[in-house]
Symmetry: C2
Subunit: 195 residues, 2 copies
Amino acid sequence: MARKTGSHSDITGPRIRDAALKLFAQQGYAAVSMRKIAAEVGVQAGALYLYTPDKQSLLFELMDGHMTDLLAAWEAEPKGDTPIAQLEAFTRFHIRYHIDRPEAVFIAYMELRNLTPKNFAIIEAHRRRYEEALENILNAGQEEGAFRLPDTRLVTMAVIAMLTGVNTWYREGGRLSRQRVERIYWRLVQRMVKG
Amino acid sequence: MARKTGSHSDITGPRIRDAALKLFAQQGYAAVSMRKIAAEVGVQAGALYLYTPDKQSLLFELMDGHMTDLLAAWEAEPKGDTPIAQLEAFTRFHIRYHIDRPEAVFIAYMELRNLTPKNFAIIEAHRRRYEEALENILNAGQEEGAFRLPDTRLVTMAVIAMLTGVNTWYREGGRLSRQRVERIYWRLVQRMVKG
DNA sequence: GTCTATAATCAGATAGAC
DNA sequence: GTCTATCTGATTATAGAC
């Protein structure tokens, strides 16, 4: 099963991305060398450059891919037609999606400062679009009287911070099931938006 | 005013810590070399080792100092005698204290993975103690019927994540004053704990 | 107390053999 | 497609001059 050399096309590209994801999340971009990534994959450092032009591109592609997938998944998510139904959909979606990808989530906001300015701007635009998805729901609910919010922008940031925070403590097989976590946070969000 | 050499005892120690704080927050521990810190202070790299045994100690002392100060400041904070008054005190204190020290706060949880295991355990114990301060307030309020919480531990984590999140967007001189931010978040926390 | 010089190691990235 | 070898420069930390 273990192949050392001469392994033809295989799937080295994706395996490099997987290794980088894992190592960047564990040790941080700056602390991970191309040699460490190569060792994790089982190739020599030079071979990585067949698949990525440089280390920065590796980081950017991970973050850009994550944000693109996140936005696409939210677009594809079934959401009700009332603000309250949409808010519930967002709350549950956000927790579920983030819990399932702790490494990508961690990197996506821990490694922002290691992006080149150009790459940073792209990731920031993605993030901003995602925040606006929630902000639009809150604005709609506020206008039709379903929500009573002290400040829409602040509640947007408060909710996202609160929900993303689940990733800092949630462990698979822990005290609470994912379903239970979703329900409890949805109750908290409901309380936050209702006068 | 600019002294290059022969500057006697001066206050080089604290200046090294200040420079490290600033650079670690901006670029991350792994990306900052001892030479960069030395350049920021205005000395040569070798001179740093008169004040710190190594780079790891520099990081640990910053984080340990921050957490110790945070806990001491909370102890010294005037807090009412009811759970609701204590919760308001905690909410306002947390926002205020964290807003004032964005760099230390950032480092304190971005650089956890760069601590040696022994140092990590010490910082984790501090953090845990701080979380328990809030958890104890919530438990007391729950028991005496002032709060109706779906899960005390979760609400603890939710509130802390939400409040710490202020640091990601708050800018001095921005749209909202500190007082206003404090009040809005206190309203949100109130809603979260009241049935 | 600071500087310069140095040791030993490691970094990102490329060239050419196979 | 991967390896080995290599270039160039940076890394932490120490030794010894001043």
